[in-house]
């Protein structure tokens, strides 16, 4: 499953699922890998062309702020995100493609909200009778 998600994320970017991804290069991210981090939301902007988020994280590296970016608000919406689903102060888990230079942060490919809602960005398939255009995603 993990391999699939990694492949998916790589495919999304390589294919340019969203033109938003063309807004600036994603070449700094390693989409062959999928990392996870849990932290407290200090800032979040879900806008176009990219979302941005800062998590306060405590792990073996210590306590620090980690910056992420991710899909457009349009893709967030279609993946199942809704306004106020993630609030400042929430404890959430993010899945992300790490930076190639191994500094903190990465490109968000999915997250689990404080209420346990699991959102995963997905690539459309022929089986999608309810396609991406305006239909809330299943939030898998």
């Amino acid at each position: 499953m993990k391999a699939f998600k990694v492949a998916l994320a790589a495919c999304l970017l390589a294919a340019g699922l969203a033109p938003a991804l063309a807004h600036h290069s994603a070449s700094q991210f390693d989409f062959r890998q999928l990392h996870e981090l849990t932290g407290q939301v200090k800032a979040i902007r879900v806008i176009n062309p990219h979302m941005s988020m800062t998590l306060a994280v405590t792990d073996q590296k210590g306590t620090r702020d980690v910056d992420f970016e991710g899909h457009s608000i349009n893709n967030f919406y279609r993946a199942g995100w809704r306004p106020n689903m993630i609030r400042i102060g929430d404890q959430i888990k993010v899945r992300f493609a790490p930076r190639k230079d191994r500094t903190d942060g990465g490109f968000v490919s999915g997250f689990v909200t404080a209420q346990g809602k699991d959102i995963q960005f997905k690539i459309p398939t022929e089986a999608d009778d309810a396609p991406a255009s305006g239909q809330p995603g299943s939030g898998r």
Partner: protein
């Protein structure tokens, strides 16, 4: 009375009114599209995924393009200036034709069809194209060059034919072209094996400056009866960053005066 069939507008009312409208249109220098029957493309169209194929066939790699020496020289010059990590979208500039047509990713488009004008809204970058019929068409000399050009349209039976000129030179395109480029799009509607309405566009790009022969590309969409188009405000981040900057300056001034 207008009765709508699936994907097809039977303009019964139009038939009744046609003589009056045509007479009025003649006085305005030409009638609007007065075909008595043609496909109704109005609605939301989203990425079509071929059975058994990847959702994306582009994958960042285009087949070799038949550049002229001059076309290749201009593209090479552009690419020596702008690296692969930069592009117009990075600065919130829309794709322009033909990229707005061919590479709108998974974002959908909305078509709004009226007899005298078809409006195409690509969610990506909120790019809007207006395809004019009949009396709405202005003389070529009055058209302002644009990244999406100026488009006229006509129906050939059930095929929508769109002619686009007045394009700006754009080496930043996946299909780069000069301002001499001309694009013809032919839209036909079919139904796939699963019963989906499918819109097929065949795009032909000709450009004597850039290409030795026409470049032909096909693009497909699927009708999404429940779909909506979302806003796409690209500049919001820049403004929010500006506000942050102003707040920091204000805080610094306040701190300096205390």
């Amino acid at each position: 009375m207008i009765s709508r069939h699936v994907g097809k507008r039977r303009v019964l009312g139009w038939r009744l009114l046609a003589p009056l409208v045509l007479a009025a249109g003649a006085g305005l220098g030409g009638a609007a599209d007065a075909s008595d029957s043609h496909p109704d493309l109005t609605g939301i169209w989203t990425l079509y995924v071929e059975a058994g194929k990847s959702a994306f066939t582009f994958n960042g790699v285009l087949p070799p393009l038949p550049f002229t020496a001059e076309g290749k020289r201009r593209v090479d010059e552009y690419r020596s200036l702008v690296g692969p990590d930069d592009n117009p979208g990075a600065h919130c500039l829309g794709s322009g034709m033909p990229e707005s047509l061919t590479f709108s990713g998974a974002y959908p488009m909305e078509i709004i069809e009226r007899p005298e004008q078809i409006t195409v809204i690509y969610e990506a970058h909120n790019e809007v194209r207006r395809l004019y019929f009949g009396a709405k068409v202005i003389p070529e000399a009055d058209r302002v060059p644009d990244r999406n050009g100026y488009s006229t349209a006509r129906w050939e039976g059930d095929t929508l034919v769109v002619e686009t000129g007045s394009l700006k030179e754009q080496e930043d395109q996946s299909y780069p072209h000069s301002d001499q480029a001309h694009i013809t799009e032919r839209y036909t509607q079919t139904t796939d094996a699963r019963g989906h309405r499918v819109l097929v566009a065949q795009m032909t790009l000709t450009d004597p400056v850039f290409y030795t022969k026409p470049v032909v590309v096909q693009k497909k969409w699927r009708f999404d009866p429940k779909g909506i188009l979302l806003p796409y405000e690209c500049n919001e981040e820049a403004w929010l960053n500006r506000l942050d900057e102003l707040r920091k300056k204000k805080a610094a001034r306040t701190a300096a005066t205390h």
